[in-house]
């Protein structure tokens, strides 16, 4: 959500519609109560999450030591393969999540939750549930159906709890339904990695000492079947359900609860299908029929709920993209032209617009257009709270930092100068105070007007007149300024700073010329956030002037600054290549393949050869057990041989089909 949309993220991450106009640095609720901007370190649930994950990580590492003792080489080789698996999955998730902004620490926490807490809790719950199933019904039933009945509730609940935890701990970073799916998928990747590595280590030690080939075979089997329909997909669906329940407050409660329950049911059903013996039975039945591959039945049983899950996630992703594009369109032409806002709405639209640019100006220009689109979406998807702290009263505006080219707008927030000490208390003066009556509320959020031990209030303090209800007024409305500082801010006191001597005008200071003009979609520039009482008659006015002390610490650029600079840089790049600063609209015109590719033997050979590197990567996954079998002078399992052949053939067919259909849409 862009700044100025009238929504506030409160100090604990709660979205408060209708709050002040500048979320995060605005500090009033609709009812006028004071809140502080959201901060991760002030969120207790974040520390709980961190503590639980830390303890679980220690326990998991301790357990991993036993795996290393049991099968050192298998664990090492398996860990390498699992690392590749995790990297590939995270890359795939990133490809599906081009619109979102995911902080690395949140991604790491999600993955750690899946890899540690979920595995421990899911394993323990699965064990106890399976035990209960065996005792309650029969061990035969538990043996055949246990994995299908027990694993979905035990593991899915343990994993989806991580997504709920992320919502409780870092709510401002999870603002779309698809964000829940993304973090759910990451939790699932962490879970699958540790679970698969554990299975591989146990398999390596099952019948032979440190059997690396068996460990690799187990890993390849678990990676390839059921493939994409695994823990990342289950938890993505469940996480999307959680996100729908918590984010889509524009829907009715019944609908949100219904979608939540439906998503959990779909995740459980997909997980149950993967673990179900029915899949094996269907596979055996279809295997008897001519024309069916050995795993067709299994893939059908697993694939149907998997396809439904993918379809729903794709719909969520489209909805999120449309929402972002809507914000982009509402942001005005400075951020995106109407054509650009229309083009970024869908993945195809973005690709068509970039291809149109590419046809006219070359592939570099197409790439530059894609960068512009990405920068626009990243900027409009920023979390609503800027990393600022409330500006204390009486502090001065720091001089503008000399880096206008890198951080053109807005300038960094001012640095607080040390406060004069002791603070002159206006109440020590005889009544009437120099402050305008009525007596203002505490100017510092959360700091009551209690008598200070340093500055005792005379006992003869007369009663204060009641505070009349004051209607809110525009921020820009000038108000009188206090001549002195009313409260002690939490900074190191020093006597080296002279007292306040200047009182600048209320409202935003003029923009320093070297920063350039602010884009029109941004809120009015303010040197620091406006206080909640700004502009309210009779209240403490906005910050007064104080002697300026140059900041010794270089302020970090805010996310808005970084993203704005990123967009400006992308536009400059596009302009250098095409002469235009915006991406024009493009029709749905497919790019014809170069004729030399379609009509010459060399061209067709190039297409064929291009498919092989990817096929080789897939082949390597199967080749490892083969190499191990050859090294140990053992006969190669028939299934491994068939799997190798299937990977090579199906991989080549798949890649060749995709390339051919993309390159030769009119020929085929």
């Amino acid at each position: 959500m862009i700044p100025g949309d009238g929504t506030v993220i409160s100090g604990d991450g709660t979205v408060i519609p209708g709050g002040t106009a500048n979320p995060g640095d605005g500090t009033v609720n609709p009812d006028g109560t004071v809140i502080r901007p959201w901060s991760l370190v002030r969120t207790p649930s974040f520390w709980i999450l961190l503590g639980v994950t830390g303890i679980a990580t220690a326990v998991t590492l301790f357990t991993a030591v036993f795996f290393v003792i049991l099968a050192p080489w298998s664990t090492l080789v398996g860990a390498l393969l699992v690392t590749v698996y995790v990297a590939l999955f995270l890359l795939a998730i990133r490809q599906f999540d081009r619109l979102g902004t995911r902080p690395w620490w949140l991604v790491a926490l999600a993955g750690l939750w899946g890899a540690t807490v979920s595995v421990l809790v899911g394993g323990a719950a699965g064990f106890t549930m399976d035990n209960l199933l065996g005792r309650l019904f029969s061990p035969e039933l538990a043996g055949i159906w246990g994995a299908m009945i027990v694993a979905p509730p035990a593991e899915e609940l343990a994993k989806v709890a991580g997504v709920v935890f992320l919502f409780l701990a870092a709510r401002p970073y999870l603002r779309t339904v698809f964000a829940g799916a993304v973090y759910g998928a990451i939790v699932g990747v962490g879970f699958a990695a540790v679970e698969d590595l554990g299975y591989a280590a146990l398999a390596a030690d099952d019948t032979l000492p440190d059997d690396v080939g068996e460990a690799l075979r187990m890993l390849v089997l678990r990676f390839t079947l059921p493939g994409a329909v695994g823990h990342p997909l289950f938890t993505a669906v469940a996480g999307a359900g959680v996100a729908y329940l918590l984010v889509r407050t524009d829907r009715t409660r019944a609908r949100r609860v219904g979608v939540f329950v439906g998503a959990q049911a779909l995740a459980w059903l997909t997980h149950a299908a993967v673990n179900s013996p029915v899949a094996a039975v269907v596979s055996d039945v279809l295997d008897q029929l001519p024309g069916f591959a050995e795993l067709t039945g299994y893939l059908l049983v697993v694939g149907i709920p998997g396809a439904v899950s993918f379809y729903w996630l794709a719909a969520l992703r489209r909805a999120d993209a449309a929402q972002l594009a809507e914000r982009l369109g509402a942001a005005g032409p400075e951020l995106a032209t109407a054509d650009e806002a229309t083009a970024v709405r869908t993945l195809g639209g973005r690709g068509r617009a970039a291809r149109a640019v590419g046809r006219a100006h070359g592939w570099r220009a197409a790439w530059a257009a894609l960068r512009v689109q990405r920068a626009q979406l990243r900027l409009v998807d920023l979390p609503p709270q800027p990393p600022v702290v409330p500006q204390p009263i009486g502090y001065a505006v720091a001089p503008p930092h000399p880096w206008p080219t890198r951080h053109p707008w807005p300038p960094p927030y001012p640095q607080a100068a040390p406060h004069p000490w002791p603070v002159p208390d206006p109440r020590s003066a005889p009544y009437p105070y120099p402050w305008p009556a009525p007596y203002p509320p505490a100017p510092w959020p959360g700091l009551p007007l209690a008598p200070s031990p340093v500055l005792p209030i005379p006992p003869a303090l007369p009663a204060q007149p009641p505070v009349p209800p004051v209607p809110p007024a525009p921020v820009a409305q000038p108000a009188p300024l206090p001549p002195a500082v009313p409260a002690v801010p939490a900074v190191t006191p020093t006597s080296a700073v002279p007292p306040a001597v200047t009182v600048p005008a209320q409202g935003a200071p003029p923009m320093p010329p070297q920063w350039g003009a602010a884009p029109p979609w941004m809120p009015p520039p303010q040197w620091g956030p406006p206080p909640p009482w700004a502009g309210v008659p009779g209240q403490v006015p906005a910050y007064g002037g104080a002697p300026v002390q140059p900041s010794r610490r270089v302020p970090k650029a805010t996310a808005v600054q970084r993203r704005t600079a990123e967009l400006a840089q992308a536009r400059t790049g596009l302009e250098g290549l095409t002469g235009a600063r915006s991406v024009p609209a493009a029709g749905a015109v497919s790019v014809p393949a170069p004729s030399w590719l379609t009509r010459t033997t060399i061209g067709l050979s190039v297409v064929g050869l291009a498919a092989w590197p990817a096929v080789a990567v897939a082949g390597l996954l199967v080749a490892a057990p083969l190499v191990e079998a050859v090294r140990r002078h053992r006969p190669i399992d028939r299934k491994v041989r068939l799997a190798a052949l299937a990977v090579l053939v199906s991989g080549y067919c798949w890649l060749a089909s995709v390339l051919a259909l993309r390159l030769f849409p009119d020929v085929i």
């Binding site: 100090g11 604990d12 709660t14 969120t43 207790p44 209960l132 005792r135 019948t207």
Partner: protein, 187 residues
């Protein structure tokens, strides 16, 4: 920090409690339930991987550890527990059997005593058996093990507590020798 921050913290703690309940409640519910099934009728029990056994008279299934058909069955015959594990192995029998002995020592603290004896079941499945003594450092009952193999299928039998294989009750040893392995059924 607002009230909602502490509310979220409370919800987080509740969530952790819920995860504990998820794992703990099934265990509590299982406590009052019997851990052993009814006496087996004498029908052969499917161990898994094509291996079956005729249980000793009056033996019961351990409901917690037994998953017939998946390769793990534990029979309780009087004081003796008979743990049967079926698995598919690759390669030669020698390394497999040696690894079985190593795992008994490493995981169960049961050290093989003396040289193993050759055994053959009534169905012709061959293998070896040997006595096991508990590790001095831990309090473990002694026992007797047997490893039976047919092609690439192996069945490991661990009977305890018994002083040695010679002390194994006759019905229990009869049950061990009744083990049949059909490798074709394992495919």
């Amino acid at each position: 920090m607002g009230v909602t921050g502490w509310k979220n913290a409370g919800l987080a703690v509740l969530l952790l409690v819920g995860l504990g309940v998820l794992a703990g409640v099934p265990a509590l519910l299982a406590l009052p339930l019997p851990s052993e099934g009814a006496p087996l009728s004498g029908e052969r029990v499917d161990i898994g991987f094509g291996a079956t056994i005729a249980p000793p008279p009056g033996a019961r299934l351990d409901l917690s550890d037994s998953r017939p058909g998946t390769g793990a069955v534990t029979l309780v015959a009087g004081e003796v527990r008979l743990r049967l594990t079926a698995q598919q192995f690759r390669g030669d029998v020698g390394p497999y059997v040696a690894h079985v002995r190593h795992k008994l020592d490493r995981d169960d603290w049961l050290r093989p005593v003396g040289d193993p004896e050759r055994v053959t079941t009534t169905s012709g499945v061959s293998g070896e058996r040997g006595s096991l003594s508990g590790d001095d450092s831990v309090d473990v009952d002694p026992g007797c093990y047997a490893v039976l193999t047919a092609r690439s299928i192996g069945v490991v039998v661990l009977a305890s507590p018994v002083a040695d294989c010679a002390e194994l009750p006759a019905p229990v040893w009869a049950a061990v020798t009744s083990i049949e392995i059909d490798p074709a059924a394992a495919q």
